[in-house]
Symmetry: C2
Subunit: 314 residues, 2 copies
């Protein structure tokens, strides 16, 4: 994480090419993905989750992930990440030359079974096997465990905070490098965010990771402010807020990268991201997904008159 965040106050980790594209029905063609990801990197984003190593029949939108990784790796300074649900996916990701993988672990076991068809015990075994493979053959690759449904679950409802912490500690003990918390269903509130990240830091120390918020109920940036307050410095976001959830009609996807970068820079926190270039990348996203609704208020309203970037520039 140190290298990625060099000179930054906050690392904005773009997950649109994975979390966004997997949630929309349309498939962006590979060349359009290349152009979009290059534009995102050119805007100053230093980490991009470019896809998911899952069977193509499950997520045809991401069937070209290995090719996208190969493209993204050529972009100087870009930290290329992907999601993997199991050892088989990790093998493919490592072979493709990924810099970092994220393994989703649902705190809600009901969601885990629905999402990756595995129990907690099975996911813990996967994590151990992935860490062992990394340690043996791919020493430079980072592994993050993303604690899905950490703030509540559409299937289970309330998720006890103790359950999240217990599983987070197990993941750290399995040897992953960091453990992040994900509000998969858009259930989180700022008070809960402060409690959970404070506990995560207390329990995991340097392995406490970043925040992955969805904006399903409009609370995404409010949760970011709470997380900043307790020292979180890495936030996932997706350009145009693309994505959604089949279980939440009308719901939007991740927090919107453009609105997040504006929030942070306006607060005086350096992200390294140029908003004009980010809005240019958004045009490529729109072009690559014709007809798909995009979200975000900064794109609609523009920057305030007299707006200044944190620390005087990007």
């Amino acid at each position: 994480m140190e290298l990625r965040q060099q000179s930054l106050d906050v690392l904005v980790s773009e997950v649109g090419p994975r979390d966004g594209l997997q949630s929309v029905k349309r498939t962006m063609c590979t060349d359009d993905k290349f152009a979009w990801i290059s534009a995102l990197a050119a805007a100053g984003l230093r980490e991009i989750e470019v896809g998911s190593f899952v069977p193509p029949k499950l997520l045809p939108q991401l069937a070209d992930t290995a090719a996208v990784v190969a493209h993204a790796r050529k972009i100087p300074g870009l930290h290329v990440t992907a999601l993997v649900p199991n050892l088989r996916g990790a093998q493919a990701a490592f072979a493709a030359g990924i810099h970092k993988i994220t393994l989703p672990i649902s705190v809600s076991e009901a969601h885990s079974l629905a999402n990756v068809r595995k129990t907690h015990a099975q996911m813990i075994d996967e994590a151990k096997a992935i860490v062992a493979l990394r340690n043996e053959q791919y020493a430079g690759v980072q592994i993050e465990a993303g604690m899905a449904t950490a703030f509540g679950c559409t299937i289970q409802g309330v998720v006890p905070e103790d359950d999240t912490m217990r599983l987070a500690v197990i993941m750290a003990e399995c040897g992953v490098d960091e453990v992040g918390l994900s509000d998969t269903c858009g259930y989180a509130n700022p008070a809960q965010v402060k409690r959970l990240f404070s506990r995560l830091q207390a329990e995991l120390g340097g392995k406490a990771g970043g925040a992955h918020f969805h904006n399903t109920r409009g609370q995404g940036l409010a949760n970011v402010v709470a997380a900043l307050d307790v020292g979180v410095t890495t936030f996932d976001a997706s350009q145009g807020g693309i994505g959604g959830c089949p279980y939440a009609p009308g719901a939007t996807g991740n927090i919107v990268t453009e609105d997040l970068v504006f929030l942070l820079e306006a607060m005086g926190l350096h992200t390294g991201v140029d908003l004009d270039k980010l809005l240019a990348a958004r045009e490529l996203l729109a072009k690559g997904l014709p007809g798909e609704p995009l979200y975000g208020d900064v794109a609609a309203a523009g920057l305030p008159k007299g707006f200044a970037y944190a620390k005087g520039g990007v």
Copy 2:
């Protein structure tokens, strides 16, 4: 304020019938306003800004404000407020039986001239005359000064924080009961919100008022979290986020009441508002403004499974 907030942690002050309706081209008919306001009050909102006492030719949408005040005054327990731009408006509001008036004072003098066609000196004279009239004839009516463009201005750009504080202190000295801060143009960020409200409280003590945020750049609820952190307990919001700004294409209006109430209750802060009844009131808003776009994510996504109100109920 004490009476309104009795037993509440946070007072949500609904401004849709004023700030919302003045910003849309369609005019809601008076009977529909009656029904909507009654439904908002039935949902538990204890303070509603029901209109504006301005010349009907300037804002024909609010020409029936006196009649709306008369209706709203009959609703038990409801604190009825209105906006007035000058002494003449205040006279009409007092005569109509208003409980509280809000006088907008633009910190940006350029905005003041554009909005109410008055300089700061002229607005200070209006405030003094309004306070004198209240003191002589309408002792029970509250007067709030709303510091418009306190966080930045579409015309002037950056608004120095010292300018906001200087004018806020003058307003308090004029004898108004409270001074609130308004992000008229959707320029505010959480760091600025904390600084300005902390200064307001330090300089004005018990006369420091609430926050009026717009969601133009999607930062509204993030700013609420920051304001809560420094002890602000009153927030304006408009149902469906209706409104907008002719100078900001695509911009939405105030923060959305439904999303704000969800935020607060989820955080454990009692508002007294029932979200199901609030969503029922939204149906009346939609019926009264056919075709007008409404905003808000809670209305689209619904409440989380297992959601519980703060302190166990409404």
